[in-house]
Symmetry: C2
Subunit: 305 residues, 2 copies
């Protein structure tokens, strides 16, 4: 199997009550691919500027991520600056500089186009559609988005959603997208658009999976120390699709659930430190250990404990 | 085993986007005892006024609830009027008339004082302490509270919490109570006060259980039709403590988890219709059916599905 992701590669400046970084590696495709790298070979598609050095590439390549489709463009790398208040629930954007991302036209190599699984991280929905069209053989395609595209490009977004298998979206945004305050009804409305799976991301409350066959939910892994939530959703998606591509064998109700577990675990490690710091040195043993713990935290069958 | 609850017995006026009721049976002790009645004999302690008739008593007595300790006082029954916006997440209080509840001094019968399990529903914390003191033999005592008491009677509340085994509280309120935005740390801070279990109620996201041994969480049961959230938390507590009293045999990590499951199920039925309408005609078979479904919605062991 093979996995391709298209999304942002960025420098982030982030401040939280627990510290700050002026300039660190970030971006949806970066967080996704690092998380997915524990399960499969993942190819990253996205542009970087002249300021992007081998030091940043090393973070990806040290985890075996294939960086051949990272496109070098004259100019500066995408830059995002944000901060979080004490409760860490909401990211406040202080500055966004699209830079080389402004004119980004995704060009996938022949190998990337052969992807069995594809993740369209949060970018303009028409770009998501272009990438989707370049990967006609993809068996399972995930798509993330945000309120901005619901506000300014809803028709394109709905079209993009209709062409994928799984929508991953914050639960406030799925309500906004569908105009439906009830989450179960909102998920059903999305499945009417096309996807066969909808994941509502709920921050510290975890994530819920809706499929035509039913409902599954996991809490966020309980952590006493959360330092930087940036990238949690993309790390979740990376664990989720990485497992499905690399180890699940097929996408079914059972493997989707286990994939939700890995997504939860990767997101939990991601938020423990700033940017890619924690996932960059994570081990598979640590992942398995937390997956076992998560399973026991959610099991109340009579045989439990 | 035996279970006593002290709390409000009320008439509620509730409006939601899905309907309204001008005057219906409500109150924390009512919702709690109806939910608990499926598992055990429960005795209700609380005052009612002249306007409280056999019709209302019948709702409780038809479910086998023992109403001998409901005290008739001259005047009007406690009255609450509130409404919910479209998302149903937040109750907005439009009117509160304490009426006979204003001078309430709990007087427990000898039988009620013998309770093995006791639930101190959301009332003034000094009253909770008085009731707690009247039940020295209680093996497991739960306590609910609200932001009002944190604001105006925090010292009394902390003292009351120190005297019980389990705090059930909204997750925003546990953060307010402890001044700790991180939920795991907030729960640890409450356990430092005395309780050996803390349940953070999270509305549609479900509930999380913290004990010294670990963490357990369940999502809210997914519902496409939620009509009136009033009493969900008390129904949860009723299912939770009712099961522990009537069927669990002992309070341990395993029975606490199953109790969380029953609490979730009772809360889910409660919100499907207004007031006590749905739980008043609920059957044990319906409860078991939803418990089985809930278990399968949260299980991702390899053998699942």
């Amino acid at each position: 199997m093979s996995l391709t992701v298209v999304g942002s590669i960025a420098f982030d400046a982030v401040a939280t009550p627990f510290g700050q970084r002026e300039r660190m590696l970030g971006g949806s495709a970066v967080h996704f691919s690092l998380a997915a790298s524990f399960f499969t070979e993942v190819r990253v598609v996205g542009p970087v500027g002249d300021d992007f050095t081998q030091t940043e590439l090393d973070v990806l390549e040290n985890r075996g991520v294939i960086t051949e489709d990272i496109e070098r463009v004259s100019g500066q790398t995408f830059f995002w600056k944000g901060h979080y208040e004490f409760d860490l629930n909401t990211a406040h954007t202080d500055d966004t500089q699209l830079n080389v991302f402004g004119d980004f036209q995704p060009k996938l190599s022949e190998v990337s186009k052969q992807a069995d699984l594809l993740f369209l991280a949060n970018i303009q929905p028409d770009l998501q559609r272009e990438v989707r069209a370049q990967c006609p053989g993809a068996k399972f395609v995930g798509l993330d988005t945000m309120n901005l595209w619901i506000d300014i490009a809803k028709d394109s977004l709905v079209q993009a959603i209709s062409e994928v298998d799984c929508l991953l979206i914050n639960d406030a945004e799925i309500r906004q997208l569908t105009g439906e305050p009830n989450l179960a009804r909102a998920a059903a409305a999305v499945m009417e658009m096309g996807p066969r799976a909808v994941i509502a991301k709920q921050g510290e409350y975890g994530a819920a999976l809706f499929t035509p066959n039913g409902f599954f939910a996991l809490p966020g892994f309980p952590l006493e120390d959360v330092r930087d939530p940036t990238g949690a959703g993309d790390s979740f998606a990376g664990g989720f699709l990485g497992y499905l591509d690399g180890e699940a064998g097929e996408v079914n109700q059972e493997t989707l659930r286990t994939a939700m577990g890995y997504g939860t675990v990767l997101a939990s490690y991601n938020v423990e430190e700033f940017g890619t710091e924690r996932v960059g040195r994570l081990t598979r043993d640590e992942i398995e250990s937390r997956l076992v713990a998560l399973r026991s935290m959610t099991n109340f069958s009579a045989a439990a404990n």
